[in-house]
Structure formats: C-alpha cells, structure tokens
C-alpha cells in the first residue's frame, strides 16, 4: 500500500492531514491503537498474544516481533526475506507497521539499523514506521522516504527537561520535515501543545494507565478516587451519564478517561480548522509549568522558527491577546519582522506623530482617531499628507498608519489596564529605533500620548538623544479638549517648517504601497503603484488603477491584487513565486505533484504568483495552502487555489 498524505490545514506546526491508505481515509491529529504482530515465522516459539478487549481506535499500528525472535536467522537478508514471504499478507490488516525498538540501542552504534529499515521500506509493501529515540541523533537517516511514521517514545519522558524536549523536536523536524509523528503515552491535556509542535498521533495509553490506578482525568485537574461510592463525577460525557450501567467502576473510569482523550482530539481538529489552535494551546499550557516553559522556549528560539514557518499569515478570527505568551506568538513576531524588514517610511515624510491605539480596529474608524484626525487637519491643512502617524500599542508595538489594515493590526484585541510590562516597552523601543533610523535626524517627532505611553517615549528619548523628539504634555486623555488644543497649537506652529505639501493621491497611494510591501516584499509597492496611479473610491472600498487598469483593492487584513497587477509583479521581482510543471493550467487549483519549486518564505494563506517552469511565463495569481517547503516536497494534495488566471 502506498500511503498518500495530504496536508489540509495548518496552525503553527500543527496540521490536519488526510491519509489515504488502502482505500481507508485517516485524518490526523488522531489516536492510534498499537498492536503486537504475532510471531508467524517460527511455530515453536512461545509468543503470548494478549487480546485487547477494548479497542479504542480503528487506526492500528502493528509492531513487528522483537529482534530476538529472529535469532534462528543468520543474516539481515534472511530476516528481510522472512518478512517478505511470511508476513506480507498478515500485515495488510494494519494501517501502519513498525519495527520494534532495539532496546539495547543506547549501548551500541545503530549505524546499520537505518540501512536495514530503508531496505525494508523499499521491499515491504507496508506503511512503515520506526522508533526514533534520543540516542539516534548521530545516525544518518537520509534516504528514507518522505512521510514515514516516526514513533517518538522518548518524548513522554524527556518532558521534564524542556530545553531538551525542544532540541529533540527541532532535530526531528530537521531530519524528517514532513513525517507523520506519533508520541505514545502522552497525557491528553498536553495534546494541544504537542500538536502545535508538530505531533500528529497519540494513543490512549495514558488515560488507561491512570484509570488502572484509579485516577480520573479532567481538563481542570486529575483526581485520585479513593472511594468510588462517594465520588461524583464532574463530567457529563456519555460514559459518566451511564455510569451505573457499567459492570464495575473501573470499567466506567477507563471509558471516561478514553472519552476525555477523544474529546481533546476533537477540540484540536476543530481548532486547526478555525485557525485557533494557538489559542487552545494557550489555555492548556497554563495547567502546568513545564508546558508553559516549553511553549515559551519554542516561541523564543530565534535560530529555528518551527512555529512561524507554518503559521498562516492571515487568519479569519480576531486575534485575542490576553497572556504573556501572546506577546511572542508567531503572528505577532511575523508582524514585527515585516515592519522592520518591509516597511519603508516614504521619502516625502516631513514629520512624525505618535498617537495611541483605539479599541475599535482599524484605528481610523474609531471615534478617538477621527477626533485626532480632525485636529490634525485643522492644524496642518494640506500639509497633513506629509505627516507619518505611528500608533503605539501593545503587543504589536508600533503600527504605521499605512499598515493599519494588515493582519493582525486590523483584527486584534487586548486587555487595557494602563500598565506596560518591560517586555512590551522593549518591543516599542526596538521598533521605533528601527523606523527612526530611516529618517534624517532633523525630522520632528511629536508624541501625543498620555501616561503611561508618555513615559515610555520619555525613556526612549533619553536613550536616543539624537532624535528630534517633542513630547507633548498630555494631561487628561488624547481626546480631551484641552489636550487636543495642545496638539493643534503645536502642529500649527510646526506647519511652516514643512516646506512643500504632499499630494493627497500620494498619501492614499501609500496605503496600497505599504500593504503591498508587507505582503510581497520591499519593492512590490513601487512596482505595482507608480506615482501616476489613481485611487477610486466606491462606497468604503478603495481601488487602485494604473493606465485605467485595476491593480488592487484594499480589503480588511489583505491587499487583493488583480492578475494584471500580479503579472507586473512577476516581471520585476522574484518573491512569492510558485513554479508549475506545465505550460498551462486548467481548473481552479494546482496540486502539489505539479509544483516544481516554490519560494521558501511562502506561508499558508500567502498570495502567490504562479509561473510555468517550462516557459517561465506568468500564469495566475493564487493563494497558497501550504508553506513553500511543503509545496515543493509534498506529492499529494492541494497546493495553491487559483484566484485569477491570465488570459
């Protein structure tokens, strides 16, 4: 059987895969049922096959008999031959088949083992998995097929040393980037975290072991039942509802733990589809210091961005940022990175205004921003189009007005307490420093912020005295009459220092350019929107035209470019390109087998330019379903949904 694995959805390293094996469809994340394959090649050998009375999942993993049962065979070749001749038919009933663990592997070099497995995976017609332990770091596993099943038995035990666990997961991702991963004996409350870090399969072992030892599993806590009669279950699952129908209490407890385990899987599948896996993880890591630590280590690792490379760049839900872990989550880090690397302050900027954020997003729609906007217009009149507004907020740090509609700036929510932590302050400082370094030192920077943001800017100004920062002493709030008067007065006084005024068209065009840069890289804005481009407004929708051809439409969270605009982009820069094997496309999507190569910086949900590998011609604009790496390497499943093809 050849297993066909299709990655359907991503959130962080977590993904939903659809596995087609022998006409059976398996979705991951899911629970596996491990089984022992009986010894068939030696009828004299005593081999106890424990029948498992309660089978929990219909996805089975058969472990081949232990190495010592093949003692009578003299060479690896003979073992392979025995497996082929005796076992092939018997193995068809298992969805996956794995070699057993070499228990003495810690004491010998396993240099011959991967070769054996590679040969076996070629010769045996099964979905082969193998056990990868920490001691296997030194061996060379290249040459094994993509999408095997890797069994990470050690993960359950190294969890207590989180740096160790993280290094192990990174090592696995480097060696087997697309593999299906199975971690046995993991507590169900840790399933979300581990799925987020890349594990696809779990099992019922933990729940059953705990039931065996009278421990009741629940989301909030685990309880050891000392007296079954007095224990009232805090759960309404189907097992607990029919508790009296079980033959004994232990059976009930086993069934309840099993239901709880299955519930976690269901929640995770749902969350990935909704794009909220990270939020599920956020809630569950709070149960336990070790998991909180592991998540933090994963977020803070700058060398290996396991989470970021698969996190979609646009999600449909509002991003709710309520805990410390949210400040370093991949979506926020992506925003910081793109602002630093892809946002250019327009050259005609003559002054900078720092203003606070608003509850309503995008900011310009909110009442406070409209009031401030009106004050600015009042003071600067036509010259206001040379003003760069920077919104100071946490945890995004600094949002340039031109980027207020990108994801997540247009769709996030935070608790506002009037307190800024040191981490939050550092984020603001870091971004301001990067942005201001683009300005010449005489450009006036006006801060119109109340406390506590005012002090943050004060600290910044003391740290970097070379910048021309004026801090307005906002007393009450940014919308109070007296403070607005302060703003108007100051700006009016500054008006004459601004020599020429920028055109409104340029100003409005900058929104398009900034978003294009944010999505496609630094030069995209200039390529798509030369200065002669026009902006047309239809109701609340802004569209950009060049030579009477529509280039792009500004939407919430996203700049939608037309196929004409995309073709211009394709001619002049090399980013976000996906090369399709054929010279033409038919249909509304391209699938991964047809993709020859793709830009590695592509993330799921990014807009991509589809070109033909054969002719080099631009074919269509589409939305990528997967990361660039997966587009190239996967051989099954949807790659890019096409939005519009070039006629």
């Amino acid at each position: 059987m050849v297993v066909k694995v299709e990655i359907r959805n991503h959130d962080g390293s977590g993904r939903i895969t659809k596995i087609l094996s022998n006409d059976k469809v398996i979705m991951s994340p899911n629970l596996l049922e491990p089984r022992s394959v009986p010894v068939f090649h030696d009828n004299d050998l005593i081999n106890t096959e424990k029948t498992i009375s309660d089978s929990h999942s219909d996805i089975t993993l058969g472990y081949l008999p232990a190495l010592h049962t093949f003692a009578k065979l003299k060479s690896e070749q003979e073992v392979l031959e025995t497996l082929k001749s005796v076992y092939t038919n018997k193995l068809q009933k298992y969805d996956f088949v794995a070699f057993p663990l070499d228990m003495a592997s810690s004491l010998r070099s396993v240099s011959h083992y991967p070769e054996f497995i590679a040969k076996a995976s070629q010769e045996l017609d099964v979905n082969l998995g193998w056990i990868y332990s920490e001691k296997d770091a030194e061996t060379d596993w290249s040459g094994l097929n993509d999408f095997p099943l890797i069994i990470l038995g050690d993960l359950a035990t190294i969890y207590s040393n989180q740096r160790h666990a993280w290094r192990f997961l990174v090592e696995i991702d480097k060696k087997f980037p697309l593999a299906l991963k199975y971690a046995p004996a993991i507590p169900p409350v840790l399933f979300p975290l581990y799925v987020y870090l890349g594990i696809d399969f779990f099992d019922s072992l933990y729940g059953q072991y705990m039931a065996q030892n009278n421990v009741f599993l629940d989301t909030d806590e685990m309880v050891e039942i000392s007296d079954y009669e007095r224990f009232i279950s805090p759960c309404m699952c189907t097992a607990c509802e029919r508790r009296s129908e079980f033959t004994n209490e232990k059976q009930w407890l086993k069934e309840h733990n099993q239901k709880f385990t299955e519930l976690m899987i269901r929640k995770i599948q749902y969350a990935i589809n909704q794009g909220t896996l990270r939020d599920l993880v956020k809630k569950y890591v709070l149960i336990d210091p070790a998991s909180t630590a592991l998540l933090r280590i994963a977020d803070l690792d700058t060398d290996y961005d396991l989470l970021g490379k698969y996190t979609p760049s646009i999600k449909k839900n509002t991003l709710v940022l309520t805990s410390n872990s949210d400040y370093i989550r991949p979506e926020i880090k992506m925003f910081h990175k793109r602002v630093k690397e892809r946002f250019t302050i327009p050259t005609w900027t003559k002054a900078v205004l720092l203003i606070p954020c608003s509850a309503r997003k995008p900011y310009s729609v909110s009442k406070s921003h409209r009031i401030m906007s009106s004050a600015v217009k009042n003071a600067l009149r036509g010259k206001r189009h040379s003003l760069l507004e920077l919104i100071i907020t946490s945890p995004l740090g600094v949002v340039p007005r031109y980027l207020e509609k990108v994801y997540p700036a247009a769709m996030y929510d935070i608790p506002v307490t009037g307190n800024w932590s040191e981490l939050e302050q550092n984020i603001v400082e870091d971004l301001l420093q990067t942005l201001f370094s683009q300005l010449s030192s005489d450009v006036p920077i006006v801060s119109y912020l109340a406390e506590p943001e005012k002090s943050i800017i004060k600290n910044f100004a003391e740290k970097y005295p070379s910048y021309n920062i004026h801090i307005l002493d906002v007393q009450e709030s940014e919308t109070s009459e007296s403070d607005l008067k302060l703003l108007r007065t100051h700006l009016y006084a500054m008006k004459d220092t601004i020599e020429s005024s920028n055109s409104k068209n340029n100003y409005e065009l900058e929104f398009f350019k900034a978003m294009a840069n944010y999505q496609f890289g630094k030069q995209a804005g200039d390529i798509l929107f030369p200065p002669e481009s026009e902006i047309k407004r239809r109701g609340y929708v802004l569209t950009a035209f060049y030579n009477n051809k529509q280039i792009a439409t500004l939407k919430l969270g996203h700049l939608a470019i037309t196929v004409y605009g995309a073709s211009k982009l394709a001619e002049s820069q090399d980013y976000y390109k996906v090369y399709f094997a054929d010279s033409e496309i038919s249909g509304s999507a391209i699938y991964t087998p047809g993709i020859v190569r793709a830009d590695q910086q592509i993330k799921p949900e990014d807009d991509v330019l589809v070109l033909s590998e054969k002719t080099g011609q631009f074919l269509a604009i589409g939305k990528s379903h997967l990361s660039g790496f997966e587009l190239e390497r996967c051989s099954f499943g949807l790659g890019v949904s096409l939005k519009k093809k070039l006629k």
Partner: protein, 376 residues
C-alpha cells in the same frame, strides 16, 4: 547499498567498562562461608552443606568481554592469581565437621563464583583433593558444583576422574540463562549457545553418570516483561524437550552492584521482574516437566527493591507459593485465593509495555499519585 551481516551485538565493551569501575571502586572482600540448612535435592528433602569459597575469579568475567551482564559474583572473588581455594575449603570443612548435624548431611553444594572444573580457578589437583575429602563420608550422597558448559566439554576427562573418586552423582549447575541465541550473545553476553556447547555438555555428563542442572534466567536486560516470560517458558520447554537435562532452576534477576544491569537499573532503564511473572512462568511450564524432572525456583532478594517484587503487600504470600511449587512441583490449593490489586496492574504492564516505544519502563511497580501532571 550493501546488506551487512546481522552482527550479533556484543555488549562486552560496555560490561567490561562497568566491571573495571567496579574493581577499582569496591573494597575487595572475598566471600567465604558455609552453612548447613534444609534443602531439596534430587531425591527429596534433607540437610545440605552450602559452601562458598573464593578463587581468583570467573575466567569469563575477567576476560576482555567483561562477563555476563547480570552477574556480580565476580565481586566475591579475590582477583589474586595466587589464591588457593583449597586452603579456604579446608578451614570451612574443619568448622563444618565440628557441627553436630554434620553426620546427617546428605549433600554438599560447593560454589566458587565461577566454574569448579576450570583449572585457572581451581587447579586440577585441588579439585581432586577436595572431592576426595568429601567422598570420605558415606552419608553425603550428592555433590553439586557449577561450571560453564564449554569447560565441562574440555575437562570431561577430569570430570570422569572426579566421578570415579566420588562414586556418587555429581550435579553441575550450568548458567544457561536462555536458549535464544540472540539473547545469549547480545543481552546476557555468554560465550556459548544452547545448540553447540550446552547440548554437548549434557550429553557428555550424562554419558559418565553425572548430571547437568540448568539455570534459566527470568528477565535478562533489554527485554520487556512479557517477552521475558515468553522467553523463560520457551527456554524451559526447549531444555526439557531437546536435552536430557532433568532439573531446571529458574533464577529471577536480582540487581547486583557493579554490573551492567545495575547501571541500567540506576538509570531506570531496567526494572526487576514481578513475582506474578514468576508464577506465570511456573504455571505455564508445568506441562513441560518430564517424568522425573524438576523445575525449582529460588528467589533471591524477593520483595526488595533490587530483586523481584510486587506492590509490597502481597510479596510474602506470593513468595510462599513459589517456595511451595519448588518443593512439591505443583501449586498449593491456596493459589486460587491469591489475589491482590496489583495483579491487574501487572497484566496492564505486560500488555502495554512494548507500546511505550522507549527503553524506560513504566515508572514503578507501585504507582504514586502526585496530584499534578506526571509522566508515566
């Protein structure tokens, strides 16, 4: 890609390292003792002398391979080539003759933490001299020693001479441990296999009127509990059915200091077998015991951390059952009432242990709930 020969894994280098560390770190104290106690022999019960005399040490353990992975008896030896075992024998033998029960003793068990017949450990002349001294007493009807099978085969002529001196049965305990070649070579690290040296040694001894007593190990390292049970039953079956060996002693592993098993045990990569496993092996092997054969089991360090144990509450009762079986070759009627809550735990572990896919077994025989999220 060339397919390499299935290299039997030789863990000798690792064992050797542990041995050397053990030799350096432990203060050496050779073990000498003797006692008279009640035991079972081939023909029934009675008093026997058990003697342990030191020699330079087991040749296999002192070799570059490091010896067997679970055996710590080398620590009872002197490591001094000039040791004269007969000297120690004489001292103990004098002491024993002073004991009033000496005249009722029916058998002598002489253990030298190695191979009796190995001339490097006990010189041939000393071997003969010792046997002569024992042979003087008519009430002693059996002489029990231990030896490696290849040494039996090499020294078969000396054994014949000893038989001529003693004129009564000599039983030689052979540490067979398992009949599975892979386990012998890779996990226990024995220099022989069941098919070649052991079977030949049984044939050779039976031919001259001596007998081989097989020692089988329950749970060598690197096996899960269920695999260990299966291997023990398999070995018992093979030994009884393929050789003329009539007595098998089942030895569950207890963790000796300064052995490879000790090193694994400290890292929690090895846990000693459950007492339920011993019962299981005995129960399922009963059918293979031939006419006139015996399957005995003497548990060392039963109920302790380093030895075979259960949860702590039922240990004493189960040990008693095992003792009963050794004596009577069947279970007592009380076996049906022998239950404990830990038995279902043991069944769970046996069924699920290999699905953990790691070297560390489940945490411990007695589960302690910590009230917080804990690993298993």
């Amino acid at each position: 890609m060339a397919v390499q020969k299935f290299q039997f894994f030789r863990i000798g280098s690792e064992i050797h390292r542990t041995r050397v560390l053990g030799f350096e770190n432990r203060s050496r104290k050779e073990k000498v003792f003797s006692k008279i106690s009640e035991t079972t022999f081939s023909f029934g019960q009675g008093l026997a002398i058990t003697m342990v005399i030191p020699t330079v040490g087991c040749t296999w353990a002192l070799s570059k391979s490091g010896g067997c992975s679970m055996c710590g008896y080398i620590n009872d030896s002197t490591l001094d080539e000039n040791t004269d075992p007969e000297y120690f024998f004489d001292i103990e033998w004098q002491k024993l003759q002073q004991d009033p029960r000496f005249s009722e003793v029916k058998a002598v068990k002489l253990y030298n933490s190695g191979s009796f017949l190995d001339p490097k450990e006990i010189p041939v002349e000393s071997q003969k001299s010792i046997v002569r001294k024992i042979a003087q007493f008519d009430h002693i009807q059996e002489f029990i020693i231990e030896c490696l099978p290849e040494i039996i085969n090499i020294q078969i002529d000396v054994l014949k001479e000893l038989m001529e001196i003693f004129k009564r049965p000599i039983y030689i305990g052979v540490g067979l441990e398992s009949t599975n070649t892979y386990i012998l070579r890779s996990y226990v690290n024995k220099p022989f296999t069941f098919e070649n040296q052991f079977m030949k040694s049984v044939q050779n001894t039976e031919a001259i009127g001596a007998h081989v007593k097989g020692y089988l190990l329950l749970k060598p390292p690197f096996l899960t509990e269920q695999e260990a049970i299966d291997d023990a039953i398999n070995s018992i079956k093979d030994t009884f059915q393929k050789t003329d060996c009539k007595i098998i002693s089942l030895n569950p592993v207890c963790v000796h200091a300064d052995t490879l098993v000790d090193m694994l045990w400290k890292k929690q990569d090895y846990s000693p077998p459950w007492l339920w496993s011993i019962l299981e092996v005995l129960r399922r092997s009963e059918q293979y015991i031939p006419e006139g054969g015996k399957l005995i089991c003497e548990v060392m360090a039963g109920g302790l951390e380093r030895g075979p144990h259960n949860c702590g509450e039922c240990d004493a009762r189960v040990l008693k059952e095992i003792e009963y079986f050794s004596l009577h070759q069947k279970f007592s009627p009380a076996i049906d009432n022998l239950t404990c809550s830990c038995k279902s735990d043991w069944e769970f572990y046996c069924a699920q242990e290999r699905f953990l896919a790691r070297t560390k077994p489940f945490k411990s025989h007695k589960f302690k709930f910590k009230g917080i999220l804990q690993q298993i």
